[in-house]
């Protein structure tokens, strides 16, 4: 688990936190399932998905089907004003396509 100093210094970690929290809210196993699927299919972690939002979009769609929209909405809510940062905003736009 990341400490607060790392979180504040690392925007990738903040982004991963938003996704992990959204998955945890959906239910206990989903965080692990999505993490495993990303590793198996794309050899990457959740935090890497800020540069490759299409990987996360694909895994969320495979895992949740049409209900992926609920998780995406939670991610967006968790990001809040952080979602207005250009890189994060671009990530959200790809995820919402």
């Amino acid at each position: 688990m990341l400490d607060e100093k790392s979180i504040l210094a690392n925007k990738k970690a903040l982004f991963a936190m938003a996704v992990e929290d959204a998955l945890s809210e959906a239910g206990q196993p989903w965080n692990k399932i999505v993490t495993n699927e990303l590793l198996r299919g794309y050899k990457c972690s959740i935090s890497d998905c800020i540069d490759h939002p299409e990987y996360l979009k694909d895994v969320l769609n495979q895992t949740f089907g049409h209900a992926d929209i609920v998780v995406i909405s939670k991610i967006k809510k968790n990001l809040g004003e952080f979602g207005q940062e250009r890189s994060v905003n671009e990530f959200l736009q790809v995820l919402a396509k």
């Binding site: 607060e4 504040l8 936190m17 809040g80 004003e81």
Partner: protein, 283 residues
Amino acid sequence: MSVQEKSLTIFESEPGSPLYQQRTWLEKIQNVLLKFGLTPNQAKVYIYLAKVGPKPAVEIVKALKFPRTETYFILGGLQERRIVKETHSSPAEFVPLPLEQTILSMINAEKEKLDTLSKQAEELFELWKQIPISALEINEDISEKMHTLQGQSQIFSKLLNMVSSAKKEILVLGSTKDLSKLVHSEVFDTLSNSALDVKIVISLTKTIPSFAKMIDIKKIRLLQESPKDDQCFVIKDNEEILMLLRNTTPSDDIFAIWSDSKALVDSVYKLFDHSWVKGEVVS
């Protein structure tokens, strides 16, 4: 009621409730903070910390019901602005600057921005002075232009403009018939009093026409032949040319082209030069 609950209730209180008046005051403070560049949620977190005192992030999340991610992001932004500091304790607490100091700090930050802009403006003015006007005129010089002029008024106006703006010389070639059309343009009056180097070649004639008698005869040569019967043009400083076209038709319908094309001016200049050498000196 705990302090955190009280604070939360203030932010969400409804009109008519006892805390609504305090909510409007907080919103006024929030609006002022927005003017200093804080985001709405940065302002809320700052106000919460400034009123309640230092708190760890988890307490802020609970009190303001913001997501963890956004709360950490907001705290990061407030730390960058140096109006919130983080303690080295575990868990870390976030300590706000008092409101007075925060406002002063933000005013100073804005002043620093203005100072920086002011210095950049001075540098800009210096650079501006160093750029010569000619650097911006290059394109205009390179791009040659050609205009068509129709009717006496347009042509006469351009002719007078050429004559009055000439710096060195004005060269005129044309037959008596063609040049007589320019009598009403006052070009000959202007040329007669001009200090410019004026040369006029009148073709297809053996005598000076009356309209040209006001001009010094040394400036006139007569050419009994013409390379082409309807040749009539005026050259200014070897830079601009006005050439009458369709000049055998009635004067109302005369048509001309004006150009500063170097190639065109050069070639017509050579034709004039040849005609001047070949022309007879008036005795």
